[in-house]
């Protein structure tokens, strides 16, 4: 029988998969240490800025009434969005039985956890008295006050908290059998350290029986969760009556944008990583092409959403909506508005071409545009709508300051630091899931 082309199937044997993935965990190279040092420096820039903000107050950020949400909230939405691609790949595509997800899922799930960890810092950076951040949580206090559960900001606390917990759980559960494989391969003191994290995993039939079922349920719970989290984030805006925010399109528009930005970040991280860790034969052009198709889909949904926003603003006959959207394109921050449209709606359309989808360098360059474009999308939504709402008397313009940029740089450092440390400590390709795709050999050969 002629062999059917199955590009998702790794051509390696089980032993080769273990060898190659465990091989990535060796002693770090100079380049790696340099990157890590860079990430930590960026992080320290952020820490320094934050310490100054603690001493001086929020005045050092670019807030200017009525614009009281600016770069910090932009960063928050940006980082939460990054996380969504990871859960899409690890949970939703698992339920859809997409076999190509296996080699990339671990890296993307780790990206999710670290991105949400980064996002979670921003509400705290943004509030005026950081030491009272726990007021957001419902806890018995001396004034007998409870949070307002009708406020989307409180929904957000629950959504982000749940998302961080569930995606961390998903990552850790997936890691346990792989850590056991590393434990059995490395030997020496490292083996002892890994065996602590493997919590007695041996791959018995009984363990797999419970594990496989549990994994299915975790995926089934994470699937609606990922769609809900960015919907809830979008309602932080859409539940208000501010022009440019008050739209029913916001939830699906934000979810598509989140996945789009997340896959952009996957490209930015994985393309250099697979080269540095010599995993080119495992994470191939085929996998990047599949990711690029998802990017094209979500990018096109964004294109539609942008067009629809402008159309609805015009068709509504509402002068406030019309003015807001006119000023997004031709107001004082027109450059932000056009960056968002060009980087997201137009650059994604390049992916209609198969040659570009399979060209790793092109994808890397496009991914940088996606990251920039999606950051600007959130900036435009927040800054433009707040700066001119109803009465021109109350309008005001806000511009980011050095403190805003310092915190943004710090967030990239914080995220990069965690991701780099993870990639050298734990298997960045899911050993066990790749092995599930590769059949064990048979005595008679064939299947």
């Amino acid at each position: 029988m002629a062999a059917v082309a199955q590009p998702h199937l790794p051509t390696q044997t089980h032993a080769e998969v273990t060898r190659d993935v465990v091989g990535t965990l060796g002693a770090p190279s100079k380049g790696y240490l340099l990157l890590l040092a860079g990430a930590i420096t960026f992080f320290l820039i952020g820490v320094t800025t934050f310490v100054i903000e603690l001493r001086v107050g929020l005045g050092i950020a670019g807030y200017n009434p009525p614009v009281m949400w600016l770069v910090y909230i932009t960063n928050f939405v940006f980082w939460v969005g990054i996380g969504h691609a990871g859960t899409l790949i690890s949970a939703i595509l698992y339920l859809f039985r997409s076999p190509w997800r296996t080699v990339v899922y671990r890296a993307t799930e780790a990206m999710t956890v670290f991105a949400v960890m980064t996002a979670g810092l921003f509400p705290i950076v943004h509030i005026g008295r950081q030491w009272f951040f726990y007021w957001l949580l419902p806890y018995p206090n001396q004034r007998f006050l409870w949070p307002n559960f009708k406020s989307p900001l409180i929904w957000d606390v629950f959504a982000i908290g749940t998302y961080l917990t569930v995606s961390t759980t998903f990552l850790v559960v997936g890691l346990v059998p792989d850590i056991a494989a590393v434990r059995d391969k490395v030997g020496g003191w490292r083996s002892k350290v890994y065996s602590m994290f493997a919590i007695g995993w041996k791959g018995t039939d009984n363990q797999w029986r419970h594990y496989s079922r549990a994994y299915l349920y975790l995926a089934a719970l994470a699937t609606p969760l990922v769609l809900s989290v960015h919907s809830v984030v979008s309602w932080d805006f859409a539940m208000s009556i501010v022009p440019g925010w008050h739209g029913t399109i916001f939830a699906p528009y934000f979810v598509a944008g989140a996945i789009y930005s997340g896959i952009g970040m996957v490209f930015t991280l994985l393309i250099p990583l697979r080269k540095a860790l010599k995993l080119e034969h495992m994470i191939t052009e085929y996998h990047f092409e599949q990711l690029a198709k998802l990017t094209l889909l979500t990018g096109s949904i964004l294109f539609y959403a942008y067009a629809m926003e402008y159309f609805v603003a015009w068709y509504s006959g509402n002068t406030f909506e019309q003015t807001t959207f006119f000023r997004r394109a031709f107001g004082p921050q027109w450059w932000a508005g056009w960056s968002m449209i060009i980087c997201n709606a137009f650059v994604s359309q390049l992916l209609w071409f198969r040659k570009i989808r399979r060209n790793v360098t092109a994808l890397f360059i496009i991914s940088i545009f996606i990251n920039i474009g999606m950051w600007f999308e959130r900036y435009v939504i927040i800054a433009s709508s707040l700066s001119n709402d109803f009465l021109p008397y109350a309008w005001g313009q806000a511009n980011p300051t050095w403190a805003d940029w310092g915190i943004l740089i710090g967030s990239f450092g914080w995220f990069g630091m965690w991701f780099l440390m993870f990639a050298r400590t734990f298997p960045i390709v899911a050993i066990q899931e790749v092995k599930e795709l590769i059949p064990y050999p048979r005595r008679k050969g064939g299947h």
């Binding site: 059995d184 791959g203 797999w208 029986r209 994470a222 050999p441």
Partner: protein, 170 residues
């Protein structure tokens, strides 16, 4: 070191050989087999004839608990300090659905993980022999049996196609 159980440990390279061995062992009435694989394998699952894992009960229980807690918490806290805003009802379901949903997912997931820990770590069969190659590319079968049975079990496993067999008498 944990107390070991006497028995025979066989190592297989081929999945069909391992499946044959499991089938013939089960025909002979062997119970409490432990099969080691590097990834879940359907053929071996079928040969072992396991029932569906009870982990789903944990998930269900967690989900129901979370949903109820979300409903109870939001209603009780709203009514505990009734504050009328914009003529809207004090306690009402639609905005609280979000909290209920998030807590359903949160408790459901955490209970699912508790399920794995309880079922596969705390209730595991202790003392079965193991070999580090089983997380790599080999399949292992551990048959607990009395020392006088070692000979028959070993020859049966070799006949089924085991690569090697060994026994640990206590």
């Amino acid at each position: 070191m944990a107390k070991t159980v006497p028995g025979v440990l066989a190592t297989f390279r081929h999945v069909d050989a391992a499946v044959d061995a499991i089938r013939s062992l089960r025909r002979q009435g062997s119970k409490d087999l432990t099969v080691y694989t590097a990834a879940p394998n359907h053929e071996i699952e079928l040969a072992l004839g396991h029932k569906v894992s009870p982990v789903r009960l944990f998930t269900l229980l967690g989900g129901i608990t979370g949903c109820t807690a979300g409903l109870a918490m939001t209603f009780w806290m709203s009514l505990d300090w009734p504050l009328l805003v914009g003529g809207k009802p004090i306690a009402t379901v639609p905005p609280y659905v979000v909290i209920m949903f998030e807590l359903t997912v949160l408790c459901g997931s955490l209970m699912t993980v508790t399920g794995i820990v309880v079922l596969s770590a705390l209730l595991r069969k202790k003392g079965a022999a193991y070999d580090p190659r089983y997380t790599d590319d080999r399949i292992g079968i551990f048959v607990p049996c009395r020392p006088e049975e070692f000979g028959t079990v070993e020859s049966m496993l070799m006949k089924a196609g085991a690569e090697e067999v060994r026994h640990d008498a206590d």
